[in-house]
């Protein structure tokens, strides 16, 4: 089975690096691209057709919650996981209402991220991507 292709959307480079490091040790998952703002996220979701998008809420050009329906429109089959430092109690329901499959708090990424991705993927069934290469981000 080909690895699950993941698009990582977060404006903080250190967070992206750490999540990438976490996913790299699991051969089932592959970072196919990174984006640091909503515009780049939409563009890469359209082009790379990832299986999973890990989407931060606090993006510089648009809220992750606002961009979520657009991502869903451009890549309808992808699973979207909100990854945020905001309080899950308040954001989880809103994220789900806007079409996110899961919400993962940044405070518990180490324990919750992999199970959440696994859960999201298993619900949909693995879908092949268009290309297997990792694509870095274009914005600074």
């Amino acid at each position: 089975m080909r690895p699950v292709r993941i698009l990582l959307v977060d404006d903080h480079e250190a967070v992206r690096r750490s999540i990438a490091a976490l996913l790299r040790i699991h051969p089932d998952y592959q970072i196919c691209g990174e984006a640091c703002d909503a515009r780049e996220a939409i563009e890469k979701a359209k082009r790379l057709l990832p299986h999973v998008v890990l989407l931060d809420i606090s993006l510089p050009d648009m809220s992750g919650l606002e961009v979520l329906p657009q991502l869903r429109a451009h890549a309808p089959s992808c699973r979207i996981l909100i990854v945020s430092q905001h309080d899950a109690l308040h954001v989880r329901a809103e994220a789900r209402a806007r079409g996110a499959e899961e919400f993962v708090s940044k405070a518990s990424l180490g324990s919750d991220l992999l199970p959440a991705i696994q859960s999201a993927v298993s619900e949909s069934g693995e879908k092949p991507g268009r290309d297997e290469r990792h694509e870095g981000r274009v914005c600074p």
Partner: protein, 430 residues
């Protein structure tokens, strides 16, 4: 004494006229004067007492009544008027004070029966009509302030106290009124109102600035330190499962970033060295850090000593420097910056000059004319300096930008007393 009655005070019909005694008219004058003066400053109250005393004196001696009453009404600091009500409303008498107040002689005033209404301020005519109608219907005295235009068009405020006098059969006879020039009082009121509005606006602005500052700090915490700690925690959790050298190195870098962010945040809240070591060392330390972080060469010129400065002045100078250097990093594209702090016996001045691309003329113009926006930092600087009574200027061209600030110093802190010196990087009080 000149005779200034231009029309007969008495109305046609002597039988009606004789029913109103001079004493009653005198009492009315006294009542009107007292009612008005009771809410006036002391000087005017004294005038009211004088008028009452004069009236009493007149009444006790029973001299020529008309002359005495004229003496009374022509001496009080107000315009006295009488207007008939039985043929519309036409003025029968106006005291000579009208000329000093409005520039019209009593003769002119009485000759034209509608002149008084023409000179009434257009915005007050409607109110006058309502209030006068109430007086006619209810018989209650009219007490109100109106604006009247002088011959030259100047707006004169009159506090008008008028009472309707009836014939013995109850029909309206005439109005007896006193108009006090309260223009000065109104101008003071207006100035006070404007001052209050300015203070309210400033207060709102300060709250807005405070809110913006809090947002900025919250954003710094959430996006800076918070995200670093998220990554750090994740790295530690991965390291626990699988110790790897790159995770360790990455985490050390993140810790460094956290320390830098916290230090910057601390500077945003309050420059730490300012309290502990004084302005000179705080400026020097900040400029050193700025140069290291930005790789922009900074030339810093400080006086050897400073008098003990008010805290507000110290913080204002530090904030102006901080905002100016932040703008240099963000916008100027300058490779070097020159900072000069000059202290004189009565003023202290700071100049921050860069050699970058300058501020766009339209942005600079907006800033100069409205003092608002293009960068909340600049607006904040201006307001802070203005509040301390200082001056603030920005000069910009294609070869760079100069921010200059001068703040007044209390004269009680001359150079030479309570001096603070900086020597080889250490600052101490002498």
């Amino acid at each position: 004494m000149a005779t200034l009655v231009h029309r007969q005070l008495d109305p046609p019909g002597a039988d009606k006229r004789t029913k109103e005694s001079p004493a009653k008219v005198q009492d009315l004058l006294g009542e009107l004067a007292s009612r008005f003066f009771s809410s006036q400053p002391l000087e005017r109250i004294e005038n009211a007492r004088w008028a009452t005393n004069l009236a009493n004196w007149v009444h006790a001696r029973q001299p020529e009544p008309e002359l005495m009453y004229r003496a009374l009404v022509e001496q009080i600091p107000a315009v006295v008027f009488v207007a008939y009500l039985d043929e519309g409303m036409s003025q029968a008498y106006v005291s000579p004070q009208i000329e000093a107040a409005l520039g019209f002689s009593p003769g002119e005033w009485l000759k034209d029966p509608i002149l008084w209404y023409q000179q009434l301020h257009p915005e007050d005519k409607g109110r006058w009509s309502v209030e006068a109608a109430q007086m006619f219907l209810t018989g209650k005295p009219l007490t109100s302030a109106y604006r009247v235009l002088s011959r030259q068009g100047r707006v004169v405020w009159f506090q008008c106290d008028a009472k309707m006098i009836r014939h013995s059969d109850g029909s309206p006879w005439f109005i007896l009124g006193v108009g006090f020039d309260i223009t000065e009082l109104k101008q003071t009121e207006q100035a006070l109102h404007e001052r209050t509005e300015t203070l309210r606006s400033l207060s709102t602005r300060l709250l807005e600035l405070q809110d913006q500052e809090r947002r900025r700090i919250a954003r710094e915490l959430h996006d800076g330190v918070g995200q670093c700690l998220v990554a750090l925690k994740l790295n530690f959790e991965m390291y626990e499962q699988q110790p790897r050298e790159e995770l360790w190195a990455e985490s050390k870098g993140l810790l460094e970033q956290c320390l830098t962010d916290i230090r910057n945040l601390s500077y945003l809240l309050h420059p730490p060295l300012l309290d502990e070591a004084g302005l000179l060392l705080a400026l020097k330390a900040y400029v050193d850090g700025f140069s290291k972080r930005s790789a922009i060469e900074a030339e810093l010129s400080l006086p050897e000593v400073l008098p003990e400065l008010p805290k507000g002045v110290e913080i204002a100078i530090f904030r102006v420097l901080q905002e100016s250097l932040t703008n240099v990093i963000r916008h100027a594209h300058s490779k070097r910056v020159r900072i000069v702090l000059d202290c004189h016996p009565t003023t202290i001045g700071l100049t921050v000059e860069d050699f970058g691309r300058g501020i766009q003329p339209e942005v600079l113009q907006t800033l100069r004319t409205s003092g608002a926006r293009p960068g909340i930092g600049l607006t904040g600087m201006q307001e802070r300096v203005s509040e301390l009574g200082g001056s603030f200027s920005i000069t910009s061209g294609v070869d760079g930008t100069e921010v200059a600030v001068t703040l007044p110093l209390p004269t009680a802190s001359p150079l030479g007393s309570n001096l603070i010196a900086i020597d080889a990087g250490r600052q101490k009080r002498r």
